[in-house]
Symmetry: C2
Subunit: 320 residues, 2 copies
């Protein structure tokens, strides 16, 4: 678990822009479980953040100075700006967003990488069919809540696993999940058996550990497990807990497949367009848990690993 002393807060003057650069004032920072993985010194899909570097993070900001003709002052953009107040960019990898389409934090949530992860993870890796039972863990979290809602939109039965009665109530009453399981007070394996008497067709995993094993114990034949994350394991200091009952894949002719949202970058815009339509139709709700103040980062970030956030966790750095 990262400690406050793992972070250093420092101030420096923003340097002059060079030709082709623009200066972005960071307004909102996306706090994601994946950031914990970026802090590990092991080979992964992106290089680790090095000691002394600015912590990597996705964020949304506004152009406040520009020597790049593509991005004029006042425009809103998202990108990997890091946990800081200002970011100098050459324009590479920026996505311009239109604040008239949705409130700004939505572009870090349903219309950002969070929503894209849910959309492509469920639709491309899970491949839901109408009538399928779709189970998602960390269901009240940013990705999970979108997965369940898209499952419902696609004619599936959505079952969410979350921590606490309030989150479970929210999933069913506010987001339209068919059922919710409170892993803090229920035996997940037994309750899944009751909630999914025919087994689950899709399990979208954000947590790993015991809950992944409970899912493996309740697969329908031909089930698809989407491996999106494993938050229960990210802060583990012992060996990662591998799914001991993975041979359920054999018995059920099931598939476990990893996904990374970056592979779908060429289709983000199309997906966002479809999701904007669902939001407008009232079928897809976006909920953010917004905490103010860049200096709160070390503590706010930990909410993710303690299961304390309710909806997409966002750090507000400045007024939009």
């Amino acid at each position: 678990m990262p400690k406050r002393t793992d972070w250093d807060y420092s101030e420096e003057t923003v340097r002059e822009l060079r030709e082709g650069e623009l200066l972005i004032r960071v307004l909102f920072i996306s706090l994601d479980p994946a950031m914990r993985g970026w802090m590990n010194q092991s080979r992964s899909y992106v290089p680790p953040v090095q000691i002394g570097e600015v912590m990597r993070a996705l964020a949304l900001g506004q152009v406040v100075a520009s020597r790049n003709p593509q991005f004029s002052i006042g425009k809103h953009v998202t990108g990997t700006f890091g946990v800081q107040e200002y970011f100098i960019s050459e324009g590479k990898g920026l996505i311009e967003v239109d604040p008239h389409v949705a409130p700004l934090p939505t572009f870090l949530n349903v219309l950002g990488m969070t929503g894209m992860t849910a959309y492509f993870g469920l639709l491309e890796t899970g491949r839901p069919q109408p009538g399928d039972t779709v189970v998602v863990s960390a269901a009240a979290g940013a990705v999970g809540s979108v997965v369940g809602q898209i499952a419902t939109i696609k004619g599936c039965r959505a079952v969410g696993i979350a921590g606490g009665a309030e989150k479970c109530r929210y999933l069913v009453a506010d987001l339209g999940f068919d059922a919710a399981i409170d892993y803090k007070s229920e035996d997940v394996t037994a309750t899944l058996r009751k909630s999914c008497p025919q087994g689950m067709n899709i399990y979208f995993d954000n947590v790993g550990g015991d809950i992944l094993e409970a899912a493996l114990a309740n697969l329908a034949r031909g089930a698809r497990i989407v491996i999106c994350g494993a938050i229960s394991q990210y802060c583990s200091t012992g060996p990662v807990h591998g799914p001991r009952n993975y041979l359920s894949l054999l018995v059920n002719r099931a598939t476990m497949k990893g996904m990374l949202v970056f592979d779908y970058a060429d289709r983000y815009a199309l997906a966002a367009q479809e999701m904007v339509g669902w939001i407008a139709a009232g079928k897809l709700k976006s909920r953010e848990d917004i905490v103010e103040g860049l200096e709160t980062f070390p503590d706010t970030f930990l909410k993710l690993f303690k299961g304390e956030n309710f909806g997409k966790l966002i750090l507000k750095v400045a007024a939009g």
Copy 2:
């Protein structure tokens, strides 16, 4: 590990045939790792063998009496006859085999469920492309040796993992594998890295445990892992050892998929036809490890779990 005292040897008189039945004299019995799984009292793809029942086994026999017009005396058939000398059948599930096509034991090996498992597991679940690197564990075993040979036929690079220098030599020199790794004397993770500098595209797993983890540590992007078995875990009395580094599936956008040969029953005949062609062309070799005597079953069966068999393990019960 099953003990000799877990088995009981008994003799009884074969009863009279009823209308529609036939009597099969068992000649060869197929000894397979899956049989160990059938002895566990847990939910699986077939019901467990109950205490007091004849041990379930695939076998090949000859019709010696018949009141079933479909099966005349003298015909050779394969089916689930169990570990016994005679089997009374109603004809259901029997496959007639032609002893002119291949030696009888071949019908329990390359042309039987063993070969079908390798064929459909590799081609349908693994989906090899020419140029792919295909790694298979228990490569000198019945299924593994066929997987590697089919990989080569399909234009892939075949790498086998087996126990001992003699098995490794056999894979490369006799079966045409591109490389072999001796798990008894080599560090499998490190040697795989050297043998597969670009990572493996397909890993066909028969063993589970540490070797599955070594494979997960060496995946190419988009790799497919075929879960066919996990012999290292079948006799484990402790908890099964789940793959701790399964998040390599996420990093590499890889797939782990279970397969059961029975799902392809409607295509066995076509597959066998293609394999007969490969055998005739000298591209596919069938090797059997034949032990004589029904009474040796308790000890012979254990050869599988000690890695002592070399090729398909078959019990010879009577002369063909």
